[in-house]
């Protein structure tokens, strides 16, 4: 939550934030760890007919029915292929829980908010709304996602 939602970075330029880094196909993404609820192995997903295309279905998380968002579909990255490394990241935006499917969760990283380049300057064409920014860390390029925006669509 917090500033990830507003994308307001100026106030906390020197602050550090922790992000969960994960992989979608060959690209590396990251989300603010504060919004992540838990990371799970793949669960049985029930397809939801007539739902928007980017919604893969719903899963049962300890008695709660949670929608699963297919980012591959959303970002047009091709088909999602389930492997042993595939994970489901459950996050909460306000009171609304949802999940995303990722190909692999790599690590938790500390980044300086000052290192985040604003999305609009980098990706002008690709869903700049959803992308909070881009971070360079040791030759890696992380795309920082704004999960809240994903639910507001």
């Amino acid at each position: 939550m917090l500033d990830t939602e507003t994308g307001n970075l100026t106030d906390r330029g020197k602050e550090e934030m922790q992000v969960v880094a994960f992989r979608l196909n060959a690209e590396e993404y990251a989300v603010d760890i504060l919004s992540v609820h838990e990371i799970n192995k793949m669960l049985d997903i029930t397809r939801v007919p007539r739902a928007p295309e980017y919604i893969q279905g719903v899963v049962n998380l300890r008695g709660n029915v949670i929608p699963v968002i297919n980012l591959h579909q959303r970002f047009k990255l091709g088909e999602f292929c389930q492997t042993d490394d595939s994970r489901i990241i459950i996050f909460k935006h306000g009171d609304v829980p949802a999940a995303i499917m990722v190909d692999q969760v790599s690590e938790v990283l500390g980044i300086k908010t000052a290192d985040i380049e604003k999305a609009s300057q980098v990706y002008s064409s690709l869903d700049s709304e959803l992308i909070q920014g881009v971070v360079h860390i040791g030759g890696r390029l992380l795309i920082l996602l704004n999960l809240g925006k994903l639910l507001e669509e």
């Binding site: 049985d44 029930t46 007919p49 007539r50 719903v58 049962n60 008695g63 949670i66 929608p67 639910l151």
Partner: protein
Amino acid sequence: MSMDMSQYLDIFLEESGEHLQNLSQKLLELEQHPDDLAIINEIFRSAHTLKGMSSTMGFEDMADLTHHMENVLEDLKEGRLPVSTLTVDVLLKCLDRLQSMIDSIRGGGSPACDNSDLIDMLGHIKGGGKVGVEQENTVPDPMAHPVDETGWNGFCELLNDYDLDLIQEAFNRRLNVFYIQVVVSEDCQMKSVRAFMVFKALEEDGEIIKSEPPAQELDEGRFGEEFQIILVTGIDEVTVISRLHGISEIKVGEIMKLDPSMSLDSLDMVEGTGDVHTSGRQEERSDSAPTSAQEVSSTRRIRQTVRVDIRRLDDLMNLVGELVINKGRLEQIGSSEKLTELNETIEQVDRITTDLQSVVMKVRMVPIKQVFNRFPRMVRDLTHELGKEVEFHIEGEETELDRTVIDEIGDPLVHLLRNAIDHGIEVPEERARLGKPRKALLKLTAHHEGNNVFIEVTDDGRGIDVNKIKEQAVSKGLIEPVEAEHLEGEAALALLFRPGFSTSEAISDISGRGVGLDVVKTRIGALNGEIAIGSQKDKGTTFRIRLPLTLAIIQALMVEVGDELYAIPLGSVDETTMLQENEIKMVQNQEVALLRGGVLPLASLHQLLDTPGQLQLEEENYIVVVRKGDKQYGLVCDNLVGQQEVVIKSLGKLLTGTSGLAGATILGNGKVALILDVNTLL
């Protein structure tokens, strides 16, 4: 008292709401039966409690307003003021103000409010009754009550015939009547608190019908060292005394049990020839009003209830839901393992879970009264506003429904009632011309039927003109003229539920603000319910709503479509059947089957749900016959799995409103199955 009252705030808000509700209801009753003393009494009591509560909580403006209301009510009670529409109007306005103050307090706002306008109005109403004004202005001197006339003899002269009525009635009901003189110790710091404690201790299972000085003055501590009361109660003298002994700083000066013979004597003494008159009124009272004995027993009953935060009940329900799911899982294991002992235990668990579930469901059930209560007032205001005359009947308000349903049904009903008064019921002149009684009849009824509750709104107004509806539907482009010709009866009336339809040509303030019956239908549909109209020209209109008892756990039919499993609420399933391939025919590119002489349109669930596989019509096909509105459809599926209890889970904000789905449920194996909503699926 500088106690921290915040912990009582919730209770205060809740109870004051109930008192306001009760007051407005009783005021409306009073308007109908201006002579019913029991109603005035009840109103008076409610107002008095409200005043006490608000002043205890420190909401002075509220207490002040109720105090002034009480003055007017007292005049009504004593017959100094006739019950008129004006009086009732002003009192209702006061209730509105109190409600808005309570709302403001609930919202964390200030309890302060300038009520001088209403207080002026109340004063104006009282105007004529100079007695009242004087009473209000003179601060009563404690010594004004003659000292030498203490004791029963002095007191019984203060009893008016209304009090004597009550006493006589208590005798008739074999209740004990005590005269008690309570002496408060000289150095008592908070006399009013002691008096309050006495009242509280005694009213636990009785009623104080008279006190001297009056309760109001006792509340404010305006009395000397003693006060006198008449108590009607079921308990005996010893218990009364021991209760009073439990309160510090007071003692019982004199206690006397009144008995019928004695009372008649004093009645003669005081009233002289007033006997006949008194007994005459008693009869009236005893059949028209809740008597004090009933009240005594009802207070006793109320004390056995507990107020529980509704969220806790929701949590409890969720946990029971989890239990049901896991019970299902156990059953699956049990059936595959085939262990006798395990299966016996599972049966036990099953029985307990079912009981638990039904208990929790019952706890969550609320009488529909909660919703119906606010309607008499609304109907009254509306009819006045529109210059119509309506007699409003409510039946079956004790019918119970799950809280989740109760919360949702209010608005649709408001809409239907408004519609009925605004569009359905004619003005009195027109009714007279048509040979109908000037006063229209509007009925709101509720009753149980199986797992459903039916609510009906019936008026005897002008009814709905089918042809006019068809015309309008055509002119609005909702249907083709050709279509209109074939529509008849209910099917034509159902056009009213189409979005963008409004019959009244002149849009009034009351209804027709752009939202129409389609919204009502959607809301009821969202509750898994249905709505139907019946109407006869010039005879009236009936809206009939069917609602499920609960939304939390339902019986569903599980069906297989491809390799997916879906639940169809049993409420919308009429039957299941098996059709041979050659029984399925094509008519106008639509698959149909003949079922008991009728034509049943078929729809493939594969197609409706875009499942990956394709359904091939086989030699034998499973059909679930469902009902949508008044039409039947056959859903073709691959397999019928069976009937099962399912716990309805919301699909969450992201997916609610997805057409064709009513929610999701979790199966015994932990997988999610979707619950189909037949109304939006087809």
